[in-house]
């Protein structure tokens, strides 16, 4: 190692510790009973109770944690798939067709990316409550379909990677527009689709404000809202009910799939991040 590279390596080591400690803490804490959680050293193991915690986690409140897990997977899966499809259709439409109002819509698209999403949540709640749709899965899924950034990203990707000649050749072969989209265009833009899908999946999985506002029935909660209600109960009852260890174990279980997914799929995030930053 060159001597001048020592300082950057040292700084990286410090950074790694900083980013890792909370994650290490939650892994260790999830193996502790509530009593040990309060009394043993925070960053070292006590009696190993992970299995007990997991069993208790799925038993608490009639197994509601399992439902939260399913809800989260359902909301984020359906939202991500839907948002990606809408973004792919619109991104292709904008990149490869010309029609009235297109220029205006493309400029507006840039503005839509800039609209703070939480400013939309409360008015959307009021509108959905007028049509009786709050406190349903749709109230979380439908607003999550809105992904101007995804549409923008796919428009850029199509413009660069789908040759006009290829689409025209398919037209000469008398393929319908929808068939061209499905069989020619979609396979060619798979990396962009994956990126948009992952971004919307993570943002819906992690979303808290939208489901917090929209849902009141605990059976419909995603993990983020469910776990915080448990935490609030634990806090109010000053730990008399055994819940803190379940909040910790439940949080770990909610985090692990996403951390694993993005470590495996890291390059897609990088391509998405760079497209967003460079264009």
């Amino acid at each position: 190692m060159k001597p001048r590279a020592r300082l950057p390596h040292l700084l990286m080591a410090v950074g790694m510790l900083y980013f890792l400690i909370p994650l290490l803490w939650i892994v260790i804490a999830a193996t502790k009973s509530q009593a040990d959680l309060l009394s043993s050293p925070a960053l070292w193991f006590a009696d190993f109770s992970l299995v007990d915690n997991l069993t208790a986690l799925f038993r608490e409140d009639g197994g509601v944690y399992g439902r939260w897990l399913r809800n989260t997977a359902l909301y984020s899966g359906v939202s991500a798939a839907g948002a990606t499809l809408l973004a792919a259709l619109a991104g292709y439409g904008l990149a490869r067709f010309s029609f009235w109002g297109k220029r205006f819509f493309e400029t507006a698209l840039l503005g839509m990316i800039m609209v703070p999403s939480t400013a939309l949540v409360l008015p959307t709640y009021l509108i959905l409550s007028n049509v009786g749709m709050v406190n349903t899965a749709w109230a979380v899924i439908l607003p999550s379909l809105l992904s101007p950034f995804g549409t923008y990203l796919i428009r850029v990707y199509v413009a660069e990677n789908v040759p006009v000649e290829l689409v025209d050749a398919a037209r000469l072969d008398r393929a319908g527009e929808l068939r061209i989209f499905w069989q020619v265009v979609l396979p060619m833009i798979r990396p962009a689709l994956t990126t948009v899908f992952l971004f919307t999946l993570v943002s819906t999985w992690n979303n808290y404000f939208l489901p917090l506002v929209m849902l009141s029935d605990a059976d419909l909660f995603p993990l983020t809202v469910g776990l915080t209600t448990w935490f609030n109960t634990a806090q109010q009852e000053a730990g008399t009910r055994v819940l803190f260890n379940l909040v910790v174990t439940g949080s770990l279980l909610a985090i692990v799939p996403l951390v694993v997914a993005f470590v495996l799929l890291q390059r897609f995030w990088r391509s998405g991040a760079s497209t967003g930053a460079l264009r």
Partner: protein, 294 residues
């Protein structure tokens, strides 16, 4: 040629964009319009709902609680954003200069907090800060000092800033690192032949080359900061002094769900959205025009 081909199927183009357009109308245009419409009226027990024009806006701009919250977020951002983006930039430059396996591991680990839902991140840090659960509060007692109260008035904002920094530094680092990867390497060689040091290379060539990415990361961070909600909302369970109006977004939420004043809540939401939108959009348009493309 291309132009003619593109205009061949105007109806098909509209049909492709239509589903997305409908979602935009229903979940973006209509909510913004509805919030504005709601903000123009007020509801009271004595008079019911009536049109009050811009009264709600006058109230908002003279509401000390809202102004305090706004100021708090501005102060918070003025410190947290430069610190976070500074660390992210230095990290990205280091990643760009060093290609050891250690650097790859650092890149992965720094990005991990992004996958942690903000609310669970805030909860984790709440535990870590607390005297009963966490390792940090009692650390000074080892050396005979007094325990740290991370939720005290003096430290609360810094404690919140640390949570946000932890969650987003790695993400921004990857954005800037990806931008650095897109800079043509020939630029560096010329500078190195001229005898530039690595530090000079970084500040004189690499940083200017990714100015656009730095600017966009700043815009998105500012948008995020103005919406500050989850961390103070969760931390209010640990730190009861976090008021209903600690941040504007928290205030809007509490106006709606704690005080059932949807008109005033809509006013705050709309104002917040409008201010952020105009500032961010203007910034992006201006910086694009300066670059000389559309």
């Amino acid at each position: 040629m291309t132009r003619r081909r593109l205009t061949d199927h105007p109806v098909a183009g509209i049909l492709f964009v239509l589903p997305f357009f409908l979602v935009v109308v229903v979940f973006l245009v209509v909510p913004l319009g509805y919030a504005f419409w709601l903000s123009l009226s007020s509801k009271s027990l004595a008079l019911g709902t009536r049109f009050t024009g811009f009264d709600n806006y006058v109230r908002a701009f003279t509401d000390p609680m809202l102004l305090d919250g706004f100021l708090r977020v501005v102060v918070f951002g003025a410190v947290q954003i430069p610190v976070m983006l500074g660390i992210a930039l230095v990290g990205a430059l280091a990643l760009d200069a060093i290609t050891t396996r250690f650097a790859v591991a650092f890149r992965l680990i720094a990005f991990m907090p992004y996958a942690v839902p903000a609310v669970l991140g805030a909860l984790m840090w709440g535990f870590l800060y607390s005297r009963t659960f966490g390792p940090f509060a009692d650390l000074p007692t080892v050396f005979g000092g007094a325990p740290v109260d991370f939720f005290s008035a003096g430290l609360l904002l810094a404690s919140l800033g640390n949570i946000v920094t932890w969650a987003w530094t790695g993400y921004n680092m990857i954005v800037l690192y990806s931008a650095l990867q897109g800079v043509p390497r020939e630029l560096y060689e010329a500078a190195l032949i001229d005898g530039a040091s690595q530090i000079q290379l970084a500040w004189r060539i690499k940083v200017p080359a990714i100015k656009q990415a730095i600017a966009l990361a700043t815009v998105f961070t500012v948008i995020g900061t103005m919406q500050f909600f989850v961390e103070p909302y969760v931390m209010s369970r640990f730190a009861p002094q976090i008021s209903a109006g600690y941040t504007p977004n928290l205030y809007a939420y509490n106006q709606a769900f704690a005080y059932s004043d949807f008109h005033y809540s809509a006013t705050i939401s709309f104002t917040l959205g409008f201010v952020v939108f105009v500032a961010a959009y203007a910034f992006v348009l201006v910086s694009r025009r300066r670059r000389g493309d559309s």
